[in-house]
């Protein structure tokens, strides 16, 4: 075991930092308050991701056969950390390079790869994830949006909810029901968002503009070739994707950066002398760093080519704990931060409060840990 970055890894991190420093506008911190799914940031990301692509740091972790540089999981981690603590200037395109691209490569038809991969590599596409429904949140397999195959086309009817980025996305990675077999009856369809019959309605939210939507599908018709994988293969494919997604966002790093900002504000105000405040701040830092190292242990499994199992749920829950205490610390000791005094702290808060809900709720992670890490007998159903 060795806990230091190599010189090459440090150099990679500084390359990204230098790039961000040179390419983010002076008012970026205020600007990033718009939230990653907002129209303003989405438009910004369309230009910024082109620059990232030109500099070779949009998808350097992709294998060479996909046009990447074949850098390893540690470099992917470093890239994700630097982008996330900078306020995620890639907007929703982070999903493209984290899991949509690799999932397309693994399961897509040659036509799908040809159609969708190139825009991703050029920083020009935005996807949304049509997973959750009003009655299928944590219980995702209860989803009911139907796709019926008629004369070589899928006709889709139903409703999705949450659906970050839906308002501006060009394509939806949509989960549909093609048979009543619970998990094996779910099929993925890649649906262009300008297909007639799709209605998107934004839901005002605590976590920023453009993040939560309702999406209605009324007789939305796409060719059979839009199906991704086989009928009924969605559960397997989503499992593969989410394993990338669960590690994808290094929230613990932003939480720690926000904590450092909050402490600096307290010091500037001459209010960091209280022992109680110092101890509370240290508790937050310890949770962030403990979560970070637990996450790194999961990255190591990727490096070693091992299957990533339930230990990723444990690391993710540790991150949720860290996010919670940092959000609470800021509100308790630096409340002005969320009311205009620090765009960075507000940006963190709006991303931080969602840590235990997005990409699989914290309680589901606890269920997974109980059954698969601790190997407790399951609850009767």
């Amino acid at each position: 075991m060795q806990f230091e970055w190599t010189e090459e890894q440090d150099a990679f991190r500084y390359k990204i930092r230098d790039f961000l420093h040179a390419n983010l506008p002076d008012d970026w911190e205020k600007f990033s308050e718009h939230g990653p799914a907002s129209p303003a940031l989405t438009a910004f990301a369309r230009e910024f991701c082109v620059k990232l692509a030109d500099a070779g740091i949009l998808f350097p972790h992709w294998p060479r056969e996909m046009g990447g540089e074949g850098l390893g999981p540690w470099e992917q981690q470093i890239l994700a950390e630097e982008m996330w603590i900078a306020g995620e200037p890639r907007g929703g395109q982070y999903m493209n390079v984290n899991w949509i691209g690799p999932t397309l490569e693994k399961y897509g038809t040659p036509e799908q790869k040809a159609r969708y991969l190139e825009p991703i590599t050029k920083g020009q596409s935005l996807w949304c994830q049509g997973f959750s429904e009003p009655d299928a949140g944590s219980d995702l397999a209860a989803l009911r949006t139907r796709a019926e195959l008629k004369d070589g086309n899928y006709v889709i009817n139903g409703q999705k909810i949450w659906t970050s980025y839906a308002g501006l996305a060009d394509t939806c990675f949509l989960l549909t029901r093609t048979s009543d077999d619970r998990k094996r009856g779910i099929t993925i369809i890649l649906v262009p968002m300008d297909t007639p019959g799709i209605t998107v309605r934004q839901i005002p939210s605590l976590i920023g503009e453009g993040d939560i939507h309702e999406v209605f599908f009324d007789d939305v018709t796409v060719p059979e070739s839009a199906r991704f994988g086989d009928e009924g293969q969605a559960w397997e494919i989503v499992g593969y994707s989410l394993r990338n997604e669960r590690l994808g966002i290094p929230r613990f790093r932003l939480a720690r950066a926000a904590l450092d900002r909050a402490v600096q504000m307290l010091k500037d105000a001459g209010e960091f002398d209280s022992e109680y405040v110092k101890i509370e701040a240290a508790r937050c830092a310890a949770l962030c760093e403990a979560a970070g190292t637990a996450n790194y242990a999961v990255v190591q499994r990727r490096v070693d080519g091992l299957v990533i199992g339930a230990e990723s749920s444990s690391a993710r829950y540790a991150t949720v704990m860290a996010e919670r205490v940092v959000c609470e610390f800021v509100v308790e000791f630096v409340p002005e931060g969320l009311a205009g005094a620090s765009p960075y702290l507000k940006m963190h808060h709006q991303r931080g409060i969602v840590a235990g809900v997005a990409a699989g709720s914290a309680e589901i992670q606890l269920n997974i840990i109980a059954s698969e890490v601790l190997e407790l007998p399951r609850e009767p159903r």
Binding site: M1, W74, V263, I279, A282, R283, Y317, L374, E379
Partner: protein, 305 residues
């Protein structure tokens, strides 16, 4: 960054596993409050497991791994101070080692006995002496802490001064305690999980009730993250990492000790179940080095000045 065990570390841990096998469970009918084994202690010393830190290809992370592994056993072993602090002071100091903060000698001292080396760490430096019968008062016989403990009643007029930085010794002390707590947390979790999987109420194992599953899962998250931050603190040698590691370990200890005795119900109140051997050691470790508040202040100082 390389977080998997290297070949040497795997070998060391496998060797300890086979050596400690006869000590992996509490002897039948034993209801000791503090369980020790001179035989196990001797075997560990003979095989050099408490001296791995000085071996170049092993170092402090391997020492922390050894301490963590040994703390999972129901037998109390004075390993953390010997394996992780002694090499920085004087590798020849006789064991057991009892670390004490200058001016805070009123607390029960773990492993204190005649012949033990007491190391006093504080602003005036790092000093040590060999404890003799006259300076020791036994603790109450039915003291609950799963370690053998005693009190220092006096200090000798002269002590051996060591030319080492007390801050560096305190750092290593914190890492050793965090590694020991990580192992105790692991041992307590295993013991509790086994019980709640076997014990049935309302016709089904306790472990099938979500009220318990979620708390146990949270306890696993804390246990796992204490392990990793303790190993990291051993690896980086950073003062902030060390303070955060022990702070996080002490936070975890407070939480899980309560949970686990709740989950075991009446059985957790008896000495027939070994849970107390891990939890009461953890409870005593929450008082180590001034407890969470002192660790928090030390971490804040290291991180933010």
């Amino acid at each position: 960054m390389q977080l998997s065990l290297n070949e040497d570390q795997t070998q060391v841990l496998d060797f300890i596993d086979s050596l400690a096998k006869p000590f992996a469970t509490v002897p039948m009918h034993d209801v000791s409050l503090a369980l020790e084994s001179a035989e196990l202690d001797e075997a560990l010393v003979e095989n050099g497991f408490l001296d791995v830190m000085a071996v170049e290809e092993l170092g402090p992370v391997t020492a922390a791994l050894v301490v963590e592994k040994l703390a999972r056993l129901p037998f109390a072993i004075e390993a953390a101070a010997s394996a992780m602090v002694r090499p920085l002071i004087d590798p020849e100091l006789p064991r057991p080692l009892c670390l004490v903060e200058e001016g805070k000698t009123r607390k029960p001292l773990r492993f204190l006995r005649p012949g033990a080396t007491v190391v006093v760490v504080g602003p005036s430096g790092v000093k040590s002496f060999a404890a003799t019968e006259e300076m020791i008062a036994p603790a109450q016989e039915d003291t609950l802490y799963g370690y053998p403990v005693a009190f220092l009643t006096s200090l000798p007029e002269s002590m051996t001064a060591h030319d080492v930085d007390p801050a560096e010794i305190t750092r290593a002390w914190r890492v050793g305690m965090a590694a020991e707590a990580a192992g105790l947390l692991g041992g307590a979790l295993d013991s509790t999980v086994t019980y709640v999987c076997e014990r049935k109420q309302f016709g089904r194992p306790l472990a099938t009730f979500q009220g318990m599953r979620h708390r146990l899962a949270e306890d696993q998250v804390m246990t796992n993250s204490v392990y990793w931050i303790a190993m990291r603190a051993a690896g980086t040698g950073d003062a902030g990492d060390a303070a955060m590691a022990l702070l996080h370990a002490q936070e975890a200890a407070k939480r899980v000790c309560y949970d686990y005795h709740q989950f075991l119900g009446g059985m957790g109140m008896t000495l027939e179940h070994p849970l107390h051997l891990w939890t009461y050691r953890l409870k005593l470790l929450t008082a180590e080095l001034g407890g969470r508040g002192a660790q928090g202040l030390a971490a804040a100082e290291a991180l933010w000045g």
